[in-house]
Subunit: 360 residues, 2 copies
Amino acid sequence: MADKIGIAVDAMGGSGGPSAIARAIKNFTSFNDDVFFHIFGKKTVLKKELENVGLKPKDYSIIDCKDVILDNEKPNEAWRKSKSSSMRKAIEAVRDKKAEAVVSCGNTGVLMLTAKMLLKMLPHIKRPSIVGVIPSSTSKGTVMLDIGANVECNEEHLFHFAIMGCCFAKIVLERDDPTVGILNIGSEQIKGRLLEQKIYTLLQKSKLNFIGFVEGHEVVKDKVDVLVTDGFSGNIFLKASEGAAEMCMDIFRGAIKNAGILGKVASLLLRSKLKAALSVISPNQHNGAMLIGLNGIVVKSHGSASTEGIEHALHVAYRLSKEKINERIKEELNKMDKKGISLNFVDKIKQKSAEIFGRK
Amino acid sequence: MADKIGIAVDAMGGSGGPSAIARAIKNFTSFNDDVFFHIFGKKTVLKKELENVGLKPKDYSIIDCKDVILDNEKPNEAWRKSKSSSMRKAIEAVRDKKAEAVVSCGNTGVLMLTAKMLLKMLPHIKRPSIVGVIPSSTSKGTVMLDIGANVECNEEHLFHFAIMGCCFAKIVLERDDPTVGILNIGSEQIKGRLLEQKIYTLLQKSKLNFIGFVEGHEVVKDKVDVLVTDGFSGNIFLKASEGAAEMCMDIFRGAIKNAGILGKVASLLLRSKLKAALSVISPNQHNGAMLIGLNGIVVKSHGSASTEGIEHALHVAYRLSKEKINERIKEELNKMDKKGISLNFVDKIKQKSAEIFGRK
């Protein structure tokens, strides 16, 4: 067990419940045998599910937790009250170095707050961000952050997001020198809000592989590897894309249905090719968003993820652990700090102005 | 000509050029015979194109303009220099009451600034907004504003957008009492930025048919008739949707192509049904975004719109003129003002605080 990677799993969240999680873990172990799972939740339920799928006892241990975080719980209340929830205990396992990473399908807000309180931030980083991968039809996709953690950001946050996003893209997209762009409503330099203007100037001066502004419709065309934006815009982008993709699927299904017997023939002819093509953009193929910037690896699986989706989130946690993403982020920040690249300029400006006012 | 509706057309913009515009006008006149077109641009070119399509001389006049606004021109420069451009002259026709509406496929920034300078704002309204229709597979779609004019907005702007959007939806979506929502990253009342919180409180108190926050993926599911947001988020939403829809189309085309002869058979079987189904979400079917809030009807057609798309923009301008949208907006604002609903509260707060500071 000593040389195995430890992954803590909060097994009580998500619409598929413990049985979907058990199947996902079982499927995962057929690809990787160097992982030990610390599984948190109701022991009686979990024991049955894990035995049912035939997971080998040497690969896991169950930690009995009496509380479960519900989807509608408020972060602050959950933090105060649910001290023995499966989610909190699973995060504690990372804090206590029993596991390298934690995976949860539960309440995002509670996960974010609990992880921030227990794990603390990486040096220099002020805000954890949610980083996800936007699918593309021709490549591995685009790493995007923030997709929903911080509704209002300043240029310092976005600068940190860019640095962390590059470390993430190197591992997940397997890119050597990922390109970085800023989500904006036009590609000309005068476009956007004050935030986009400020982060443009910063990234232009940085040593990152910066390519400028990227418009919404260009993202799926592999314009850039890492795209930074605030959590409000990122979430709007993500959900607008989801809605449009679903609508297109509905239209195709409707057209096939309306074509009667001809539609049935056509869909039979295309089935295998369509299935393969569509799997590229399936949310389950891209499930597993990291809460990046924390002193520990936290992966959020979508609440409605399928067994396949949860398995993908486990793979994300595994790769990020194996490649030591947080060590790489720390190194990157250290290198910049040593080169004299300012990492906490907003703080310094605030401090400076406080000094000036203090002298008055 | 006296009882006809006058539509001014800037015929020099757009990738299709004057010939696409001439065909669109000709097609339009086969549905409506109560419109007189004032067509602005190079007379020699336009005369030929309009005669080619067989437009009746009683239905139009050409106004020769020597300048054309280019796509890369900066608004301020164009405003100072291009005094005799087809775009500016066409807007002047609306200002001088020679036409009810103007349609242009040209540079959006220049159109916005020129229209604002020449037409001025409607009473109470501070900022013109771009209002468009987001397609849906099952209904007429969702009216959304702002989709790109104002990158930073306050709650007062969004409140005005909601009022104007409802007038627009009554005409374009033919809804009696349109529902109004706020684009947000969650449906719970605590979600979003300070802007979303403030506009929520205002709309809740208003007499509008307010339904709360709407998430990005719910828009295409006919959750709401009128959706308000700032111009940055609206534009991100629109372009993300465009990108995702295009990607889905590419995937389907790819699957059909990869299926070889079977794909050809399948696509032949489905062709007519698919074409009909897809036309619902074709950008050309939704072309024609109004610059709302101005003292005159200004309709922006997409630069790359097809003949069909430009024709749709002409229909939008026609219906908005016939239904006197701006009179309706003014009435609506007047009614609210009389009922004591504050319409310019941000101004009043600023004034109040200036008074307080003045008294000190």
